[in-house]
Every structure is written in structure tokens, then in C-alpha cells.
Symmetry: C2
Subunit: 239 residues, 2 copies
């Protein structure tokens, strides 16, 4: 039997205030849930449509999944996990930071990119979407077990304190292909629609852009996740 | 006055079958709608929360927008446009194709990337999500006015007929950084979860991958839009 209070609790976790108050988040999808389980993240509730997903899983009907999913369509597996305690920020040669990213899917894709390129920490401005938003969890496909998002109230102060050159993705900047992107530095990616905050703008040592290959008027900007992908590739390609 | 039948019609356009039957699609968001208007795509309905958006626009209340939006939250502007007649496929040195992309946001991001890199045609397998899906329209941010999606029933036959080398993004392939990606060739990107169809797999001359920089087990794959971004950057970087 699934208790109604449980279903209500799961639905409430759509909202950040309830995630914070309860220290819990929801993960949907087999692959994503398996990643959190494999990494031993404490699991409070585990529902599955199938019998054999996991010894801890409770089998539920599709009608239950339909009621609790945070998406348009339910997944075969849904887990409620504890949000881990804040971790210390490692000192690494490369710092990746995001400023004011609002789209949860984009943040998820950036977390997955960090994972791919071996980056363990992602610095987020306070006004960046919560990394435990269900859509972010989904888009990051379990990469949150390896990449920690650190939300800083004063992003620019932190970047200053690192005493590293600061690079910002900006369409008015120099072509990224014209320079060798160093492996010692901070790289910041802003919101596509609002750009960087003034404070971050003042901090940038270098503005870099991905050149637009269209001769006449074309797209005004790239999606921030695809732009981040190209920057990370340029930093790490090593040729 | 907004007629109820109009509201119903707009909501129905969420579904592909209704888009096809009526030859219409919905675009939401100021920037996106402006792109279609500037490119003179025939506009059937144009609603705006503000008075001065466009002479053709009808001012409506937020309550109306709430009723008709295809998203969780309404935009200040919504337009219903005619789906253009199929265009002829240009012969270009580079062909970009997608095989079985289901996520509308990913397809939109890929269309926007094509726009950025000056690619006018995107070849899509029949089982790829419809480019006039509202989420795709939204994610492509108006780039559909410059990039035409061609849905082909037999993608592999078409690619064969081009008589160009065929490159596929595949995690088991050779590092993309180890070769110079030619500007004469077809590049195919498949669904992350299902990979390429068998037919496409048989067709590939070269499998290429973006190397995973994590020493121990990390992310299994990249989001297909971010992978496409890195491939396009590698093809066009010219250094």
C-alpha cells in the first residue's frame, strides 16, 4: 500500500522550499536512480513499476506513477533521496562557474558536461536554478553524484579570491579559436537572455566568443549548455 | 473578444496530427515570434499581453495566455503560423543528420547550432521529433526561419546517395581530437539512449567520440545537443 501522505510529499518536492525544508529531492528514470543508489546516496522512497528493479523498491501501478511524476510522462522508476550535506570546495586549476542560469535542463546538461570533462565542482550564482530541481536532476542523468554544485552568495568575491584569470563567454569577445584556452583559470557562463551581472562583467579579464559562421544576420546567441560544451572542448582538446 | 474555438484550436496544435491536418504551429516568446514575423512567415493568430507588440497583434489578458500556452508558464506573446511548404534540399559539402532524436529541446538546440554554424539544412530520420513541436520551436529560438528540417523516410539511402564519407558520433569511436574533421562529409548524431539504427550503423565510414576525461567511471554519454556542439566546433574551427 502506498500512503496518500507519501504521494503528497513527493509532489511537494517539486518546489524548492519543500526540498530545502525536508532535505529531500526526487529522481526519476532508471539510469538516474541507479546512479544515486550505486553511489550510496540515502534513499527514502523507491517506487518501481517492475518487480526486480531493486530489493528496496516498492512495486507500484502506473496510476500511482502518474500521480507523483514531476514530468508530463511518468518513468518506470522514481526515488526520493536525501540532499547531501555541503561539501568543501576543492582547489583546482580550472574553475567553472555559471551566473544566473534559469533553465533547469541547461543546468543539468552543464553538470553532465562537467562530469564528462572530469570537473568535480561547479560554482553557481545564488540566482541559478536549484540543482535538485527534478528537471535538472533528470537532465544531469546522475552526474550529480560526481559533480557538486556550490551556490555562492557572492560569486564575484569568490572568483576574485582565487587569483586566477577570469574568462567569460560573451558574443562580443575575441574568438575562442584565436587563443589557447589555459588550464589555469576561471570560466564563467551567463544567462543567454540577461548576460552577466554587472559585478561579474567588471571582473572579467577576457571575453571570448564562439564565432558566428553566418555571413548575414543569423541566430543571436547559442544555448548556454551548447556554448559551455564548446568552451570545455576547447580547454581540454590539448592539440 | 477571443473566440473559444480559437483557444481550442491553439491547444490542439500541441499534437502533431493537428499540426499536420491544419498546417499550423504555435510559437511562444517575444524573440521567437518576432523572428517568424520578420521572415514573413504567414501568421494566422497573434496574441500579446502588451498593446504595442505588433500592429497585427490582438491584446489579451494573462488569463487567456494561461489557457492556451503549451508550457507550464505563459509567454507575453503567442503566434500561430503556417507550416511552410517543403523546400528542396541544397547540395552542400557538409551534411548534418539526426537519427531518432526524441527530446524536442535537444532538437531545438541542434537547429540553433546549425543556424550558428551557417548550416541551412538538417536531415532528420522519420522517427525524430517534429521540428514544429512547440518545445522545439521554443528551444530553436526562431532559427527555424534559416534552418530547414528535412524528414526522410530512408535516411541511410539518402546518405548513401550523397557519396560522401559518413561520420557518426559514437562513444566507442576514435577521438575527434585525433583527426581533422573534413568539411566534405556527412555527420550523424543519434539518440543517446538507443544509439544508431542498425542501417545507419552499417553505413558509417568513421566512428568518432568525444573523449571522456574522467579516469574512473563517469558519465556514460553526453547530451546529444552538447555532443553536436563539440562536433560542429571541431569541423569549423579551422586552426
Amino acid at each position: 500500500m502506498v500512503r496518500k501522505t507519501q504521494l503528497k510529499q513527493i509532489l511537494k518536492l517539486k518546489q524548492k522550499k519543500h526540498r530545502l525544508a525536508n532535505g529531500l529531492f526526487v529522481a526519476e528514470g532508471e539510469k538516474t536512480v541507479r546512479e544515486f543508489i550505486s553511489a550510496s546516496w540515502p534513499c527514502k522512497i523507491l517506487f518501481s513499476l517492475e518487480n526486480n528493479f531493486h530489493p528496496q523498491a516498492q512495486k507500484v501501478d502506473l496510476s500511482v506513477m502518474n500521480q507523483i511524476t514531476h514530468f508530463k510522462n511518468p518513468s518506470p522508476v522514481l526515488g526520493v533521496f536525501e540532499i547531501p550535506k555541503p561539501k568543501l570546495l576543492n582547489k583546482m586549476p580550472i574553475t567553472i562557474a555559471v551566473d544566473g542560469i534559469r533553465d533547469p535542463g541547461n543546468l543539468g546538461a552543464i553538470i553532465r558536461l562537467c562530469d564528462w570533462f572530469g570537473i568535480d565542482d561547479l560554482i553557481c550564482s545564488f540566482n541559478t536554478v536549484d540543482c535538485f530541481n527534478s528537471k535538472t536532476v533528470h537532465a544531469s542523468m546522475g552526474s550529480l553524484v560526481r559533480v557538486t554544485c556550490h551556490y555562492l552568495e557572492n560569486l564575484s568575491e569568490h572568483l576574485k579570491s582565487l587569483e586566477k584569470p577570469v574568462f567569460g563567454a560573451d558574443y562580443r569577445g575575441k574568438s575562442i579559436y584565436s587563443v589557447r584556452l589555459p588550464e589555469f583559470g576561471s570560466y564563467i557562463f551567463g544567462s543567454e537572455s540577461h548576460g552577466f551581472s554587472q559585478e561579474i562583467n567588471n571582473l572579467l579579464d577576457y571575453k571570448l566568443s564562439i564565432p558566428n559562421y553566418r555571413q548575414t544576420k543569423g541566430a543571436e546567441s547559442l544555448n548556454v549548455a551548447t556554448a559551455t560544451a564548446i568552451f570545455l572542448s576547447e580547454i581540454y582538446r590539448k592539440t
